[in-house]
Structures are given as structure tokens and as C-alpha cells.
Amino acid sequence: MSASLNPAAPAAFPICENPAEQFLRSDRMPSIWCPGCGIGTTVNCFARALIKTGIDPKKVVIVSGIGCTGRVAGYMHLDSFHTTHGRAIPFATGLKLANPGLTVVVYSGDGDLASIGGNHLIHAARRNIDLKVVCVNNLTYSMTGGQAAATTPRDAITATSPYGAYEPPLNLPHLVAAAGASYVSRWTTYHVVQTMKAMERMLTRRGFSFLEVISPCPTLFQRRNRLGDGLDTMKSYKELGATRHNANLADLDMTMGGEIVIGNFVERDRPDYLEAMQAHLRAQLQEQYVDPYEHAEAESALELGELSCG
């Protein structure tokens, strides 16, 4: 059924294998994720999106920061980088500018991308750097014990808000759209097909693309807030998820027990960072302009052939 599409996968890849398997470092399974954690579900969507796009996995790079979600890079059988906390986007920016032929995916948690790394997120969106950012938002810093994050809704009980959080949370789609992102969507881990399709879209379009996936952390966030286990949370997403593709982005705040507005909110074309740089410098310098990539692309194609992942 699932013929191997990943040249990096073992040659005699068994038929009837889980389609995600070719993109996993199987020797590292089972994962460290808790029972009912939503992160693995998003990875399944991502693997299936990779297959649907038919993209050459050798040209896909995945970059994570630190956190439970930050583990994703280490579990994927792709060229992957597990960077320092909050710095996945700067690292990915460097990769993309050094080798624009790569499809660079940033896969990390809400804390990593929007709290400690929030400034990088804003500026990558502003510059429209061609990155595909998947933010698994479990509304807390899970890996360190479930502290209140910049995304924690008001009244949520966390390790650092025992009487409930009182700070207003960041509304991530609104933030990145205002900063200039060219693609913005939000789904939950219940909405697997929509999540896969959003990932597929991000992988095939150009410009800064951002997908927020609301996801359960049953061990910390759900338990402290008496929201049941992973399955209870998935069922609540089914109830609370309200698909509104043309929603007013200012109305997308996450609340405790309130509706979760989901959808594909923004899709617009504007020159990405590289296009803007090249066009501007060409116009300014005219025949003096030397495109650094004309030469570099041929070279990096050579190198890619030699560097195998794993």
C-alpha cells in the first residue's frame, strides 16, 4: 500500500507499513510523549502531507527548538536540527538563506516559538521568510512542568498560576498576520484532515506560513484544570471547534472552555525575503549586481547528493 517515497528509508521497505513510518526514526520509538499527548497526531498529519505533496524528502529540513514538541525534529527521518530554546526560526532562516532550494520546516511548541522565541517569530513573518512554521500549542510550557506561558488562557491553573492565570494570552494567528505572514491557519489535533491539508498547502506555497495546532497536554495542562485525559480533550475540540475561514483575527483569543475558532485565515502573495532582496538590489545596482545564488544553487545540489540523512 505505502510504497516508500522517502529515498532515505530502508530499501526493502515493507508493504503495508504505516505511511508515516518512512519519515520516522523507528529505532527511537516509542516516543517519550505521554499517553494521549497530541504532538504525535500532528506528526502523522505532517508525514501524510509530505507524501501528498510528493516533495523530495532529501530537500526537506525540519528544525525544532526545545520542549516536548521540540522532540519532533529528533524523531523525523529527515535532515533535522534540534536547536536551542527559542532559536529554531533564526536557525531555519540561516538554512533557508544559505540554501534556498531547501524546504525549511520549523516545528516547535508555543513557548519556544511565541514566548522565548516571540521576537524571531514576528520578524520572520514581517520579512516573509519562506519558512513553514508548525506551532503545537498546548497552552503551556509542558516539558518543564506546565508553567504559565504567553499563550495560557485567562483563569487556567498552571504550575505558576495556582489561582488561575490573569495575563491576557497571545492570539497567535492575529499576531503573525499583523506582522505580515502570508499564510495563517489554526486547527486542533481533532481536525486531522484539515491539519494535513494546511500542512500540504504550506509545503507547496512560498512565503512565511504559519499553522497553529491546538493540542492536549493531558499530563499537565488538562490534569491541573480537571479537563480529563487526552481523549476527553479531543472530544471537547470536536464540540468547541468553530470553523470560520474569514474570521476577524482579533476574535481568535483562546479561552478556558470557550469556542476555538479554527480555519484557514490568511493566504496572500507578497515577495518573500529573498525575492525582495534580489529585486531591490538588482534595481539599485543594475549590471553591478551579482546574484549570490546563481552559483551557489549548482553547488548545493552537488552537496545534497552527497549528504544523506540519518
Binding site: S2, E17, P19, E21, P30, P35, G40, N44, L231
Partner: protein, 78 residues
């Protein structure tokens, strides 16, 4: 006749029951038996109704199950 089936890797399963709950024809159930880590693993309770849609595979956070479709039988002559 069933259109498809599932393959389970019991050693990976953490018993979350996402697959059981979100299977459209609800053909799965958690087995009363335990795997080595002490989790209940899904089994096909109503195999005839499995469509091989692989939605269980998309939901499973632990890559422990996936669905597949049987090849269509070749049309018989006559």
C-alpha cells in the same frame, strides 16, 4: 466483505483510545489484555465493517496503528 483492515504494533501503543473513538464505523475496541507496558491495545471488534480509511492511523499519536485497503478483486469474466 471488509474493504480493508488495520495493522497494530502493540509494543508502541499507549492505550489513549483515539483510534477507537474516531473510527467512523467504530470497528475498534480496546482489548482487555495488556501490552508489555501495561496499556490496553486496540483490536478489530467488528472487522467486516473496516473500510481501511486510515483515519485511526492519522489520529494515533504513537504510530501504533494504521489502516489499509485491500486490493480490489480482479473482475471475473462472464
Amino acid at each position: 466483505m471488509a474493504k480493508g483492515s488495520v495493522i497494530v504494533r502493540p509494543e508502541r501503543c499507549k492505550g489513549c483510545a483515539f483510534c477507537v473513538e474516531f473510527c467512523p464505523p467504530r470497528v475498534l475496541a480496546l482489548s482487555p489484555a495488556f501490552n508489555a507496558k501495561g496499556y490496553h491495545v486496540p483490536e478489530l471488534a467488528d472487522p467486516e465493517k473496516c473500510t481501511g480509511c486510515d483515519l485511526c492511523g492519522m489520529y494515533c499519536p504513537d504510530f501504533a496503528i494504521h489502516g489499509f485497503r485491500f486490493p480490489k478483486p480482479a473482475p471475473t469474466a462472464g
